[in-house]
């Protein structure tokens, strides 16, 4: 028997009350989903201005990924096909609004609604035909076309997903490009079987360089990144504004989002004398 849940039953059946409860209470699952949602939010590369944005969470489930958006002070709306998962989200009193809907039928929002979209561990479900009337290519195209339309023209959409094979990656990305998106795949920790994660990064506003993957070189660099990442996190709460640490953390964040950033030197954040 296959270990992939999307092979066992349609999502609205698989995520029934029992599974939804188990899923939402498992501390290991919570930890992983939160970490991936944090990375997705980072890859969204929202402007670094501490403003609240409106974000769409696709396949939001019980709101684990949404909690990351809330912690970052963003507003969100979630769509999911499992009522059982959404009921738990409501029960947990998440700040986002949730809507019962099927990605493959299209996103039911008016043009230009969202400043960004994330989707954690949901897209692979769309690659399967659960009903005789389902055609995965068509459903993916409908999904991406309507998603493109409901995003603003500077928005990104970031999908962490579990592709089954390279054909599936090809199917998903080609339908996304057909719908008008630019972008591609960012693979974090490609050399680790456990930590390897796929992020499809889609952009609406034209081609831009893809963000750097984590741990793309040898193990040592990976450790280094994690350290830097922790430093960034710490800086978010702690380092005083405009201090060297604050600037370094901000630049590191920009680099990880794939934005153009000047290299760090010993002059970074040095006090200027005021003279030229």
């Amino acid at each position: 028997m296959s270990r992939r849940p999307e092979h066992s039953a349609p999502p609205e059946i698989f995520y029934n009350e029992d599974e939804a409860k188990k899923y939402s209470q498992n501390s290991r699952i919570i930890e992983i989903q939160v970490e991936m949602a944090e990375r997705a939010l980072e890859l969204l590369a929202l402007p670094d201005d501490d403003e609240t944005r409106l974000i769409l969470d696709i396949g939001c489930g019980s709101g684990l990924s949404g909690s990351v958006l809330e912690d970052a002070d963003h507003m969100w709306i979630g769509v999911d096909i499992s009522k059982a998962m959404l009921d738990i989200a409501v029960e947990r009193e998440v700040a986002g609004d949730v809507i019962l809907g099927d990605m493959g039928e299209g996103m039911p929002f008016k043009p230009g609604t969202f400043d960004g979209a994330i989707s954690i561990s949901a897209l692979q479900w769309l690659c399967n035909a659960d009903k005789t009337s389902h055609n995965p290519h068509k459903r993916l195209l409908k999904f991406f076309t309507t998603l493109f339309s409901c995003l603003t023209r500077t928005a990104r959409a970031v999908f962490q997903f579990y592709p089954e094979n390279s054909d599936q990656i090809e199917m998903v990305t080609s339908q996304a490009m057909k719908a008008g998106f630019y972008g591609g795949l960012v693979v974090d920790y490609p050399n680790s079987t456990k930590a390897k994660k796929y992020y499809l990064v889609l952009m609406t506003g034209g081609a831009a360089p893809l963000p750097q993957a984590l741990g793309s070189a040898e193990e040592e660099r990976r450790v280094n990144y994690i350290k830097k990442r922790d430093a960034c996190r710490e800086a978010r709460g702690k380092a005083p504004k405009k201090s060297r640490d604050w600037i370094l953390a901000k630049k590191e964040r920009r680099r990880r989002q794939g934005l153009e950033t000047r290299p760090d030197t010993k002059y970074t954040a040095r006090k200027r004398s005021g003279r030229f």
Binding site: T52, I81, I99, L100, F109, K110, G112, T113, K131, S133
Partner: protein
């Protein structure tokens, strides 16, 4: 479902529907939840609001004394109106009711605060 979300929802996904907006809102049960007023966020939302949908929502919840029928200019400078908009958009939670497609009359129920936008096979 908050009324800010109502402002964004369409029935465009139904086969043959052209605009599917604004949906006709009916409320059977609602709740008022206080939330923090974020002036800059409401301001950033202004260009994304469809005033006719906002006003019809205000009619349903009987807040037409607070929300003018025609969109005033320079709303962002009117602190009082911004507060009232915040209340309408973020503090009223629809628990039970329905949304109706303006073109086909198709009804989407709202239960336990969750709008059900799922379509039937023959509507896709």
């Amino acid at each position: 479902m908050k009324l800010s979300t109502y402002n964004f929802l369409t029935s465009m996904a139904i086969k043959g529907v052209k605009v599917g907006y604004p949906l006709k809102l009916t409320i059977n049960k609602k709740e008022v939840v206080e939330t923090e007023f974020n002036a800059t966020f409401v301001e950033r939302l202004l260009p994304k609001l469809d005033w006719s949908a906002i006003y019809s929502a205000a009619q349903v919840v009987e807040l037409t004394d607070d929300i003018p029928a025609v969109q005033p200019e320079n709303i962002a400078e009117n602190e009082q109106l911004m507060q009232k908009l915040h209340h309408l958009l973020f503090e009223i939670d629809v628990l039970d009711g329905q949304l109706e497609c303006p073109e086909t009359g198709r009804v989407f129920p709202i239960t336990d605060g969750i709008p059900n936008m799922l379509l039937n096979e023959d509507e896709v």
